[in-house]
């Protein structure tokens, strides 16, 4: 399970191993690691997995499924629906929810012959950066059990980093794929908004939510994304992935936002940022600092918009159609209010209250509308930056993986750490987190690259984005 997904897929196609052996190896690794990791909310029953692996193997042998990932075991964040498989979104609210259909992104992988192993742990409704807000307990960082793997796709990141699966799907609203990838020493790719269908993804903030990939390396991430990116009529926000344009033969132009110098950044992270920039210069790239406008507005704009959309999206949980239902309710209002109070965790309720507040008539202009306007200005700031640069380079987070419990007393303090990841989310741009090294205490650190378009990214730039 330690080889890349592509290597494993190749060995399966060449008959050196098979899909059933790969699934068994994944299950062995899960039995060995899971007790001290907690990456999964639900591992599928062994017979279900082995049957799926046998089917995949048959399709490979009959040359019906010959995708690069046929037979390869993978996991899915528990906010993506899988038919007949409990899908909890990390919440008590959906403890007993069993979807009647499968998310489009997952269907694409199953059609390609990849073998689903289970559903991974996550912050409740993807609201959090540590996977600690999950109703099902915290996931631990594979590099240090006292630390968080990051979040909200912390289970997916930990499962890939620990070799329990070859790759995993996550979702990214303000950094939830990139940040756990950085904390777990793997690659996390957030595609451009709308390039992967959101059909079957349980909504958090619909104008920001994107299905992303957690993988061992960039080539694996590319292979998965190639399967995911297609036009799905069920998602009306779907678009073709943009293609980054760059003149042939010209050196790569890399911009590092200047305001970063003043940011509260861990010294070791700063040193790795400088080292990464220097390595690019040595490879012949033109690296320069520039002013990225409005960076101080990123976090407030993000949390205003994301909570507003969350409060609206989560209105649907009323104890009637699906989800937790309070017992002995006296009236319909009592039923709704108590079902939500009992079913949602504290972070989710905080964000619903905040989102409702900024959307209320008296405060709409001061908060929500202002945030929308600034978001449009932020998008223009990125467009301007990417007209001068091929890539924007920043850290993923100001510091390495936090100790579990760090943000228990002041959850709002956790939001500030999203500084680098929420900008590309607000602008709808693709961004990737790539491991660049470790701190002296052995914790992985990733750097984020923001790019113009996912489609051209791999042909053009990614081949050079290899850090040892």
């Amino acid at each position: 399970m330690d080889m890349s997904a592509l290597e494993l897929g190749k060995r399966i196609r060449e008959g050196k191993t098979d899909a059933v052996a790969a699934a068994k190896a994944a299950l062995d690794r899960i039995r060995e690691k899971e007790e001290n990791l907690g990456a999964f909310i639900c591992v599928l029953p062994e017979e279900t997995i082995l049957k799926a692996a046998e089917d995949a193997q048959r399709r490979i042998e009959s040359k019906e499924a010959l995708s690069p990932l046929a037979g390869v075991p993978f996991a899915v964040k528990d906010n993506l629906c899988v038919k007949d498989c409990p899908t909890t979104c990390g919440s008590k609210m959906l403890k007993d929810y069993v979807p009647a259909y499968t998310a489009h992104a997952v269907t694409r992988l199953l059609d390609a012959g990849a073998v689903l192993i289970g559903k991974t742990n996550m912050d409740e409704f993807a609201m959090g950066s540590t996977t600690e807000t999950s109703f099902y307990g915290a996931t631990k960082n594979p590099y240090d059990p006292l630390r968080s793997p990051g979040g909200s796709s912390g289970g997916s990141a930990a499962a890939v980093a620990a070799g329990e699966v070859s790759f995993a799907l996550g979702t990214d609203t303000g950094g939830s794929v990139r940040q756990p990838a950085s904390h777990c020493g793997i690659v996390g790719f957030k595609p451009g908004y709308g390039t992967v269908s959101r059909s079957g993804l349980i909504a958090y903030a619909s104008s920001l939510d994107v299905v992303g990939v957690l993988a061992k390396d960039l080539a694996d991430a590319e292979a998965v994304l190639n399967l995911l990116m297609d036009k799905d009529p069920a998602d009306m926000t779907g678009v073709e992935a943009a293609i980054g344009e760059r003149e042939d033969g010209k050196p790569l132009r890399i911009g590092v936002p200047k305001s970063l110098r003043e940011d509260p950044m861990d010294q070791e992270v700063r040193a790795l940022l400088m080292k990464t920039a220097e390595e690019w210069r040595e490879k012949g790239a033109e690296v320069s600092e520039f002013d990225l406008a409005l960076t101080e507005a990123f976090v407030p704009v993000y949390y205003t918009i994301a909570t507003a959309e969350a409060s609206s999206n989560l209105e649907r949980y009323d104890g009637v159609k699906y989800g937790h239902r309070a017992q002995n309710a006296g009236s319909i209002t009592d039923l709704t209010e108590r079902s939500r109070e009992e079913g949602f965790g504290e972070e989710v309720k905080r964000r619903i209250l905040m989102g409702t507040f900024v959307l209320s008539r008296e405060y709409y202009d001061a908060y929500y509308r202002r945030a929308l306007r600034l978001r449009a200005a932020i998008r223009r700031a990125y467009e301007e930056a990417l007209s001068s640069y091929d890539l924007l380079l920043t850290p993923v987070t100001p510091s390495p993986a936090p100790l579990l419990g760090t943000f228990e007393k002041s959850p709002v303090r956790m939001y500030a750490d999203d500084l680098y990841t929420v900008g590309p989310s607000l602008a709808g741009l693709p961004a990737v987190s790539i491991p660049v090294g470790k701190t002296r205490s052995g914790l992985p650190v990733g750097m984020q690259y923001v790019v113009k378009g996912s489609a051209g990214f791999f042909d053009d730039v990614s081949a050079r984005l290899v850090h040892e």
């Binding site: 069993v98 709308g194 678009v239 101080e296 209105e315 209250l353 998008r379």
Partner: protein
């Protein structure tokens, strides 16, 4: 911004949340902290910021207004915490 008891009760009602008495002080403090973050928005001049406040992307082609989903009533009702025969139940609504 200072959140009063009255403001909290109003936003909780709008949010469809019944906050137990012992959680109200913490909820007020948290909401104040979150609003302090959003209050930073007032430092930016939005006069020059775009007028456009639409979604990130223009919507793609909208599909025809024709029902395309198969009839999944039975499957959907399975998830209802109190689904009966062909319907969902709620507490008595009209007296």
């Amino acid at each position: 911004m200072k959140i009063t008891d009255e403001m909290l009760e109003r936003v909780a009602a709008l949010s469809g949340l019944a906050l137990p008495a012992e959680k109200k002080d913490k909820a007020k403090k948290d909401l104040e902290e979150m609003l302090a973050l959003s209050d930073r928005l007032s430092a930016f001049d939005t006069a020059e910021a775009a007028e456009e406040t639409g979604p990130v992307l223009a919507l793609g082609d909208l599909r025809e207004d024709i029902v395309q989903n198969p009839d999944g009533k039975e499957a959907l009702l399975k998830n209802a915490p109190d689904g009966r025969e062909e319907g969902l139940t709620v507490p008595k609504w009209i007296s």
